[in-house]
Symmetry: C5
Subunit: 351 residues, 5 copies
């Protein structure tokens, strides 16, 4: 389940000295793999091991699956990544953040995916360490989230190979933020389908359960994305010399996309809150109808039954019983009472 490891150091981590490298996630099946790419405008090389930084090329080192802590430690040593950053790489389910170190920027971003069928929601932690001329990405999952980016690099599509390392960074972040749009699409689609079902089928159990499930999902997604806005904004405003001035516009665009997603989230939350209130009002309304119906039936027949009960008594001396038309008169009276009652209910707008 997605919630199991939400935002905490697991028990075996606590009590250790700070900066201890312990992987707290639960994706351990596959071994860690290294994917290095060296490129500039003219060349493109792909090597599956550690590669040295080269002055005239951009290096993208991609490490997938974090269970091999030694590999992470070794990466840290080679590229001089601060132990606290390394600790955060392994300590998955962190909130999104940007941290500036002397020799680079450290970025943590959650990669969100949602299964449209059962609405199970998954968060993969992706960390970046961006230095002069190189970017190291750490993906929690063994499968590649940046296939599209890799392809564009390899085939030299767009301007990605003409630009410096921070444009690569932007391309990868853009891919992740695109994924958020996908999550939002799924959630918006669900919200709309509930709304329609509320209007066609009326209030029913299923709608209620789904409203609550979606409220929870939206709340979780929001808690994930909210810190990202601050992180991206700080990246965009950072005066680190790692960021090329000409690429700032791209990061501003990213800030804008995240803001737009958060806007949509709030909008959907409003929608759901509105639906919930509608559901409650509708349920209360239904109870009112049921009670009114009970009251009408009871109020008509309880007095009539009483009258019938009177003439069912066995007193010796009940003169009415012995009249020729007493029974028929009584039936008439009962009918009149019933009609009168119905008229009165109509007058009170109960029927």
């Amino acid at each position: 389940m997605s919630r199991k490891s939400r935002s905490k150091r697991t028990a075996h981590k606590r009590g250790l000295p700070p900066e201890s490298l312990v992987y707290t996630g639960h994706r351990k099946e596959a071994p860690a793999t290294i994917h290095a790419v060296l490129y500039n405008d003219a060349t493109f090389e792909s090597i599956d091991q550690f590669v040295d930084i080269q002055a005239d090329k951009t290096l993208w080192l991609d490490i997938r699956n974090l269970s091999d802590t030694n590999l992470i430690a070794k990466t840290g040593e080679i590229f001089h990544i601060h132990p606290l950053a390394l600790e955060d790489v392994l300590n998955t389910q962190q909130r999104a953040k940007l941290e500036e170190f002397d020799n680079g920027l450290f970025f943590i971003v959650p990669h969100l995916k949602i299964d449209p069928d059962n609405l199970e929601f998954e968060s993969e932690q992706i960390s970046f360490f961006a230095g002069k001329n190189f970017i190291i990405s750490f993906q929690e999952d063994p499968d590649d989230s940046f296939e599209q980016v890799r392809k564009r690099l390899e085939e030299g599509l767009g301007k990605i190979r003409k630009k410096s390392a921070d444009y690569l960074m932007y391309a990868m972040l853009d891919t992740i933020v695109d994924g958020y749009y996908g999550v939002m699409d799924t959630l918006e689609h669900e919200v709309m389908s509930i709304e329609e079902s509320l209007h066609t089928n009326g209030v029913h159990q299923l709608a209620k359960a789904k409203i609550f499930k979606l409220k929870r999902l939206l709340s979780e997604v929001k808690h994930r994305i909210l810190p990202l806005r601050e992180a991206v904004t700080r990246y965009y405003r950072s005066d680190s010399d790692i960021i090329d001035q000409s690429n700032r516009l791209y990061f501003r665009d990213l800030v804008d996309h995240v803001a737009q997603i958060l806007d949509s989230l709030d909008s959907e939350r409003d929608m759901l809150a509105n639906m919930e209130a509608f559901y409650q009002a509708e349920a209360a309304n239904k109870l009112n109808h049921v009670m009114r119906f009970l009251t009408i039936i009871s109020t008509i027949f309880i007095p009539l039954s009483f009258i019938a009960g009177i003439y069912g008594m066995n007193f010796d001396n009940m003169p009415e019983l012995h009249t020729q038309s007493g029974y028929f008169i009584l039936l008439g009276v009962m009918f009149a009472v019933m009609v009168g009652m119905l008229g009165w209910f109509r007058h009170k707008k109960w029927i």
Copy 2:
């Protein structure tokens, strides 16, 4: 329906490299059209094709219907509009924003319209690229939203032809903001009509459905206009040399109008929340009345029926049955019980 394309990249857009030009809206019937206007204090020309910028004249280039992405790309090339801005022009249903580029300001504003009959609400995205001496406007719809402005330009009414390009920008934004006042008028009118109907007809289904519909509409309108406040304020405060110092007052006025509309929106929301609470209290009140009525009827007749049931039993030895006046005494007792009960209910203020 207006909600279908709310604030998202559609599926065919995701996965493409950034800066790809894909139109995400759904208004494709008519072909794109170009409307150029060149004017200064003395002259006015209207040409339906691309026109070069001229030092002594202001150029307003208006492009309507965005389905022809090649035309948009070509416009971008001619006027050096940044690819990210072009992408946003086509990516409709964006939030309002202002972005400064080296060679101009880029403005996205939603143009809101509401159908007063069925309260269907529509949002057309209008983008502006304002450079030195020229303004390019991109309208999503094929019909002209700026007819009034065009007329004033053509006939030289007011000071519009005496002022620089940014006053034209102001005139167009003012037209759009005027449209918001129209939307607010419609919504305020609806809110007031519900309020009146609540006070005259009491609580009814229709009112409830309308309260929820209006809450949703207000929430959507607010989500559209809120980012505009920030955008207009930033325009007003921008130190770009494209903005003429003497025209700043006009933009301050615009900021003020947007703030006033948002104020009204909040005020209407308060109103609706208050009505919703009133509706609920009233419904609970009605349930109370119904239950009290049921209780009174039941409490009076259930015991009386029991008494009648007693004397309807067939025991051989029931002395009361054989007395001369037993029946009449019992009727008296029943009547006394009924009166006593009614008195007690009156005492408890239930009737």
Copy 3:
């Protein structure tokens, strides 16, 4: 009704070019009047027409009733008031604001009045244009809101004639803010009277209706006064040379008064929210009582009636019917059942 023209440009205004002078209010019976006052420490003149600014005297020009747009336009021309400010003077039901122009400060303040009998609430827009040595006030209503100030000027009471024009401005604003205290007094009095009635008479329809009415009134008053705080604060902090340094303390005092009124408003809103919750809890409580009573009566008599029904059956062979004391034994059993039930209800604390 006060709500009719709340915060909007009316329909005939929309579509016009900006800066068009159209009066949007609805007070048109009386003709506009001009009241000019020229004074310094030694002299006081009152003239009912336009007067020129004089270096050694302070000019207060008061224009009442705004239906004559030509007069407003003429005033604007004589005193060089910016067209946007003039537009706002006529466009009543604006939010409070302060705008700085090159030649003066423009202030819009709502003057609130409330009728204590029917709680009808009225807002008159008063605008000020304060320049070096002169103040022009525009009152929407034909009657004078500043009679007291005029008297103090005429009789030379206090230091008002010894001080510069901005002290006059302060005196007028103080009069308006004093009016807010009056509105608050009325509302507080109403809130307290509901509270008392809730504690003495319990929950009743009237209280509920009044709670909702007051909630609405407080919300409206708050929406009016809230923007004023910002406006007065900006006046107090403005570095315009129109404001005499020695008079700043008075404006700080004004800021303080507005803050205090907003505090009171919040306090009253809390009070009403608390009462509303109390009302609801009380109503739920009452329903509980009614239902419990119904349940007790039903639970006692429905089983007893069933027993009586059994012995009212006409089977040939029902041995109990033919015993000598069957009837009396049954009555005893019924009585025992009733007492047992009552004991059980008492045990469950239902009675």
Copy 4:
């Protein structure tokens, strides 16, 4: 009652020119008294009349009971207190505030007391005017709130006589803030006692009434103390030369205490809101139980009564009535129905 004069100018004050001295409180029995204290490290003098400021001594002038406006006016004249400050001294039930004047600091603080028995809450306004070398305190009540401070001064306890006038100011403010702790203790005690009673006695009327009373009290106390935080913070940060640098730490401590009290207030409000929700859930729960009980009893006996009613009919030809064991079979059937129903209810977990 404490609420009567909450935060407003009373009616006789409105309409007067600003800076008029009118006492708006209601404590008029005793005459105003003056208590002057002159001290330095070595000496201590106590005189009950006006005293001149002396360069080498600190003067504390304490004026109690504010009904004598002439005395206040005279004090203002002697010590050059600004008329606006004097107005605020007399205009009781002000919000806490700090105002800087050229010749001193003006401080208004509410002194809160609560009667633990009936939870009646009282607010006395205490004002301070702190100049170089002297402090003037205005107490609304005739009894001394600063007895402890006076004693410490007289007996030379602690460092109070070694420090400058602003330490005296601190000592007095600390006394007042200590009083807030007392109010909080009383309220916390009440909140805890309700909580305990809710858990032992369940939901009852008394608890509800007390929850609402406490919510109101907490709201009132918060409205009083909230502005004080800002005032004390501004004092602490003020660069007035009246404040001795070495004493700033004490004012920082005061800021901290006020923040802590506001924290506690919020915490208690959360507590009460939680209890209120608990109360409501519990009441709804109780209603559910009652209704379920009614439903069970009704559902069992209404059909059985119907069956008995059938065999109570007087048709000539009802074969069952004439069988030997019909009655007993029917009793058996009825018993079986009852048992079946009970089983079904148990299955549905209603009993």
Copy 5:
């Protein structure tokens, strides 16, 4: 109980002059103990009494159990701790805070523990005074909260002995913050277990009670940790020369952890609020079901009983009674009515 001494000066403290040293906690069994540690990269000494500061070593003085106020006073004298700080050391249940003094930083942090079995929550106040080269820690409890840190010091694990005193400070704060993760784990586990039980067992009393208990716990924990964020942030940003520039990253990491815990707290609160709403909707739903069932049963049998009652009357002249098949026809009619009713309820989707 944990709540008893929440955030207040106890009664015996009020009324005393400021800076009086009175211990307000309730842990008095054990005598106070002193644990001094002197270390540098090469050496480690542990002495159980006061030790002088040495230029080339770091001194950590740990004082446990605060009941001996003389010892605290003596510590203050030796290390020149400001009396206000000492007062706060003893005045337990303070909010977290950082205060800068001339000769050091004073830090108050709550150490939270929770008993996972009965969810009893305890807060121990730990204070630090950090000067150049030394740290003094005051633990309210006699048992050591920093055993792990002491061990790492003693055994020279990690870089703790290579770094200056503020790294020790960090190590201790990190230990406390780790404890918060533990509290969060317990609370998250409880929230998840309620959620599961809600989905498997449906709505029940126990769940409700636990939801309210957890809401209260989360609220208390939040009130404790919230001020810590500000304190740690101010530490991180402080320009005091006590903080080694190279260690700032560690404190930034701490800020991040506290923010993450607060995030989790908010997330859990959302969760609980969602569950509470679900619980209420579910309970209302259940009531609806019960009422509908009652209504169905009553509506079917009350009219049928009435018909039976009619034919149980004893009128002499009731022709139907004497027909051969009247009884059977009536039974048929009754059956038809019953079936009709059921069909109608089905049509209305009540069954």
